[in-house]
């Protein structure tokens, strides 16, 4: 079993909350998702549609639609928070460092653009090598400089939000008091019995009196806390600003230095390349000169021969041949010089020819036969599997460190699906990529995953290594998923999950899965379960793991399947399993 404690974390999502603005109000699509992605591993995110899988991945790519609001949380990648950086900076990351394969190969390609152009497009947009080098050189300092400002703003915002919260709390309390009054008044109107009416009236008077005092108290408290909190906020603001001001010149200086260094390095690079180019040119010129001399001598000799030789025609022919040879050699040199110029140009920009070569290589890598012909075709001339390969090729051209696959095989057949999965696995091994793989097919998960995160209603409910999730599932939703898919070896009645996932406009109180869960406890409807630790890598958010909960067993169908598959693999006890 791989030890995850000393593995390098490449991408880390912390407490991400995303909502969508709709006509009916805010829909909380993602409600607090946290996970780490380690270098060289595949993390599978499983869940039904509408559970927030795709939204999470789109946040990482920075391609959320305009109606989405990132309410809270961070996506940390190379020391930068991807939720805070702006669009122009995302160009440096999107595609180059984080690539994405989209769900539908039909609609994710442009139907009126040739496939080759679509593959080379990204390369040609970022054709200036120097700019990219410069960006990469200063990225670290720039990020810390910007993070400084972000830190200050978030600290101030946090302090201010506290004031708002306390105000809202107090307002709620006041509202409750007046509501009580109104209810009583309504009741007085309703009752017709004069005696009861009088009784209620006296009660009402008492209540009004009581409320007056209470509301005065609350108002006083509100004023006091507001004042206290605003003082605190002011202090915090001051502290944050002071820290920001203190760090700013240092960071600015660092940034300036790194910019200077970067410029220097670029100048060095340019000078080096230029020197190389000039040297090459000089060499070529020298060679040409030598050649010229050689030829002019021999040509002069031959010319003299024409007048003296016995057979004039033969001599003339020899002379003409030599002339032709000389011309050819001259042309060769012109070509060579041109090539040197192109090579020199290539050091600074990516040419179309180069992009095409790279695209053809990638197309070969993803297994497209006859890439030269396919390069010039339109997407409609490809089958579904081939189109998906094109989408993968587009994602791979920039050699990303993290690849996000959003249901890449859902629209495909089993045979093609198996091919694509094999291809992704092969590329992962060769390039040591980290992969986030989103799917709802548990068979595919079993094939791909090192670790699995199960999502439901915008939250991760269980996370663990693939073996832990499949052979020791703890969350009732994972049980339900595992027992609702038909198995090849059995014909027992499937245990379908009743109902549909909740609509997240008004997320249910407590555990979101409680309404569909036959193992639900009373506490599930009141309070949200925290994450319970099972092993170092395995966590599940269900009250069933609490010490006070009654002991529940997995459904029979799940435990039987686990037993069968463990027996098939030749493992007798669950304890023998790796990672247990």
């Amino acid at each position: 079993m791989t030890d995850y404690s000393n593995k390098e974390v490449i991408l880390s999502v912390r407490d991400l909350k995303i909502s969508f603005k709709t006509d009916e109000g805010l829909v909380n699509a993602v409600r607090g998702v946290s996970f780490d992605l380690y270098k060289g591993e595949t993390l599978c995110i499983v869940g039904e549609s509408g559970s927030g899988k795709s939204v999470t991945s789109k946040t990482i790519m920075g391609i959320l639609p305009a109606s989405a609001v990132i309410e809270d949380g961070q996506v940390m990648f190379e020391g930068e928070d991807l939720t805070k950086i702006d669009e122009s900076e995302f160009h440096r990351i999107r595609g180059h460092k984080i690539g994405m394969i989209f769900q539908d190969p039909l609609s994710s390609l442009n139907p009126i653009m040739k496939v080759g152009k679509q593959i080379t497009e990204a390369m040609l947009v970022n054709h200036n090598r120097l700019n990219r080098m410069y960006d990469n050189l200063i990225s670290k300092e720039e990020a810390s400089f910007k993070n400084n400002k972000v830190r200050r703003d978030s600290r101030i915002a946090q302090a201010e939000s506290k004031i708002e919260e306390s105000d809202e709390e107090h307002a709620e309390k006041l509202n409750a008091l007046t509501r009580k009054e109104k209810d009583l008044a309504f009741e007085i109107d309703e009752t017709k019995d004069p005696k009861a009416k009088a009784d209620l009236k006296s009660q009402y008077m008492a209540l009004v009196k009581e409320n007056k005092e209470a509301s005065a108290l609350i108002k006083a408290d509100m004023k006091k806390t507001h004042h206290e909190l605003s003082l605190l906020a002011k202090k915090e603001k001051k502290a944050a600003k002071a820290e920001y001001r203190k760090d700013k010149p240092i960071l600015k200086k660092e940034l300036a230095i790194s910019k200077k260094n970067a410029n220097k390095e670029l100048a060095k690079y340019k000078a080096l390349k230029k020197a190389e180019y000039q040297k090459k040119l000089a060499d070529l010129n020298k060679e040409e000169k030598d050649l010229n001399k050689q030829y002019s001598d021999s040509l002069a000799l031959l010319k003299r021969n024409i007048s003296t030789a016995a057979s004039k025609t033969l001599a003339k022919k020899a002379y003409d041949d030599k002339c032709q040879e000389f011309e050819n050699k001259k042309k060769e040199f012109v070509d060579k010089k041109e090539q040197a110029g192109i090579d020199y140009q290539k050091c600074f920009t990516i040419t179309k020819k180069e992009a095409k070569e790279a695209a053809l290589n990638v197309m070969k890598e993803v297994g497209i036969p006859q890439p030269e012909i396919r390069f010039k075709q339109y997407p409609f001339e490809f089958s579904g599997g081939m189109r998906q390969r094109i989408v993968i090729a587009i994602a791979l051209t920039a050699n990303p460190e993290v690849l996000i696959c959003d249901e890449p095989t859902t629209a495909l057949d089993v045979t093609i699906q198996a091919q694509i999965l094999e291809l992704i696995n092969k590329l992962k091994r060769e390039r040591n990529m980290s992969i986030i793989f989103i799917t709802h097919d548990l068979g595919v998960v079993a094939n791909m995953a090192d670790r699995v995160a199960v999502m439901y209603a915008g939250k991760i409910v269980e996370v663990g290594t693939a073996n832990e999730i499949f052979y020791d599932p703890r969350h009732p939703y994972t049980w339900a998923l595992l027992s609702s898919i038909p198995d090849i070896d059995s014909k027992e009645k499937l245990e379908a999950i009743p109902g549909t996932p909740p609509y997240l406009l008004n997320p249910p109180k407590g555990d979101a899965f409680a309404a569909r869960n036959k193992y639900a406890l009373a506490v599930d409807f009141k309070e949200e379960p925290p994450f319970f630790k099972i092993t170092d890598t395995h966590y599940a958010a269900t009250w069933l793991l609490d010490g006070r909960a009654p002991k529940t067993e997995k459904p029979r169908i799940v435990s039987q399947r686990i037993k069968a598959s463990l027996e098939r693999a030749g493992i007798k006890n669950e304890s023998e399993l790796e990672g247990k």
């Binding site: 089958s383 045979t415 699906q417 073996n467 009743p498 098939r568």
Partner: protein, 442 residues
């Protein structure tokens, strides 16, 4: 229901009279032996070609034959574009098929005339070629003959008459064939337009896409009632009651009847599609990938619903899918299709015990299982038709290798497959013995 009794009335005279094998009932072709046996649906040499322009033809289904027994669940598997859906839609008369015929309860419900047209064309071409040959022979023979003496003249006339007779014979044959085939084509056209619509409503279909297959401008009630109205059930109160019953049967509330399809989720829409099919009280239901567009958790609900309906109504099902694990779970018999041809057909246990055709093997090896330990060791078999088969000497035919197990192969391949069956049997027996020795039962 009264629909049933009406149809029985229709069949009564046939059953009582005792007629020959093939005959006409109300002018429509009828096969008695099919009707009397337990075969519900019989597809014979079904071919469906689509015109692609420029005289090109897309051979979506190419020569497929199978029978479906009463009360059976028949699965049709294959990759997309192999003609599964086309087969289903041809059976239910959404296409006019190119060639072949479909018999439902003994009645011919769909047939194509391409073969008959070809027969006329080829008999004409062959006959004309023969006539040409004979004329040449005649010419050669007559040229050698002398035409001087009266004897010679008689001989000359005789040979000429002999050849003339041959030619007229051939011409007669051509016209006979033409007459016969034209009659057959007429019959096919007559059958196509005179099939009893009551009989056709016993066949229903559930479509693949739950979103596109429902009219967005009709309420659920209108959608479900449409078929009933076409069949002449115009009593609205009765229809409404029937619709409410059906909606509850498929797991929806009766008051959903007044809503529009866009108010429902994918799983609920698929249930509406099922209700639309079930309200006609069908005997045969074609399910065209009913679950592939649905979510994981909803899939199991729909599978269980279909299973319940099958048991309650005694339905015969044809289940079209590309997910073999679902088909294995659901079906009694499975047929595997590849590029418009059926390559293997067997009971589901038999198919998984002895997958013979290399394509079936490739398909089985590609199923992802929710079991990481075995999944990560999985060896996928790649199917390459050019490498696997050598059909230069002998064309393959669809033949029975074991009772109930059909495979597309030629004679050399059949002997190879028989050896494979033996090997598989030995392997399976060994595994079973090991299991029993361990004392475990699965």
């Amino acid at each position: 229901m009264n629909q049933n009794s009406k149809e029985n009335n229709l069949l009564e005279p046939i059953l009582t009279k005792g007629l020959e094998k093939e005959m006409d009932v109300n002018g429509v072709s009828y096969k008695k032996d099919l009707a009397l046996s337990d075969t519900l649906l019989s597809v014979r040499h079904l071919k469906m070609f689509f015109d692609m322009g420029q005289d090109k033809k897309l051979k979506a289904v190419h020569n497929v034959s199978f029978d479906i027994k009463k009360g059976e669940c028949f699965g049709l598997v294959g990759e997309s574009g192999c003609g599964k859906t086309t087969t289903g839609r041809s059976i239910i008369r959404l296409y006019h098929i190119t060639s072949g015929s479909v018999y439902f309860k003994g009645f011919r419900v769909n047939a194509g005339s391409r073969w008959n047209e070809k027969e006329i064309k080829w008999s004409k071409i062959k006959g004309n070629n023969k006539i040409k040959e004979i004329r040449q022979k005649e010419k050669a023979e007559l040229a050698e003959m002398s035409n001087t003496t009266p004897e010679d003249q008689i001989n000359y006339r005789k040979t000429k008459a002999f050849y003339e007779e041959q030619i007229t014979n051939i011409q007669n044959h051509i016209s006979e064939v033409r007459k016969e085939q034209i009659n057959k084509i007429k019959k096919i056209k007559y059958d196509d337009s005179h099939v009893d619509s009551k009989l056709m409503s016993k066949m229903q279909m559930i479509f693949q896409d739950p979103i596109d297959s429902l009219d967005p401008r009709m309420t659920v009630e209108e959608i479900i009632e449409e078929g009933l109205k076409i069949q002449g059930h115009r009593n609205h109160a009765k229809n409404h009651q029937l619709i409410c019953e059906v909606l509850e049967e498929v797991g929806l509330r009766a008051d959903y009847a007044s809503r529009y399809p866009n108010e429902f989720s994918g799983g609920q829409r698929q249930r509406i599609g099922i209700a639309r099919a079930v309200v006609m009280n069908p005997e045969f239901l074609i399910c065209d990938e009913p679950i592939s567009a649905l979510d994981v958790s909803i899939r199991a609900q729909i599978i269980n619903l279909l299973n319940d309906l099958k048991e309650n109504h005694g339905l015969t099902l044809m289940f079209i899918a590309h997910d073999l694990s679902v088909v294995k779970y659901f079906c009694d018999r499975i047929a595997v299709m590849y590029f418009g041809e059926m390559v293997e057909m067997a009971t589901s246990d038999e198919l998984f015990a002895h997958p013979l055709h290399p394509y079936t093997r490739a398909l089985l090896s590609a199923i992802p299982k929710p079991d990481p330990l075995s999944e990560k060791k999985r060896q996928r078999i790649v199917y390459n038709p050019a490498k696997e088969h050598d059909y230069r000497k002998e064309k393959p035919t669809f033949q029975e290798i074991l009772p109930g197990h059909w495979v597309l192969a030629n004679s050399t391949e059949i002997s190879k497959y028989q050896e494979m069956i033996k090997e598989d049997d030995i392997k399976n027996a060994k595994k079973e013995a090991e299991r029993q020795a361990k004392g475990l039962e699965y």
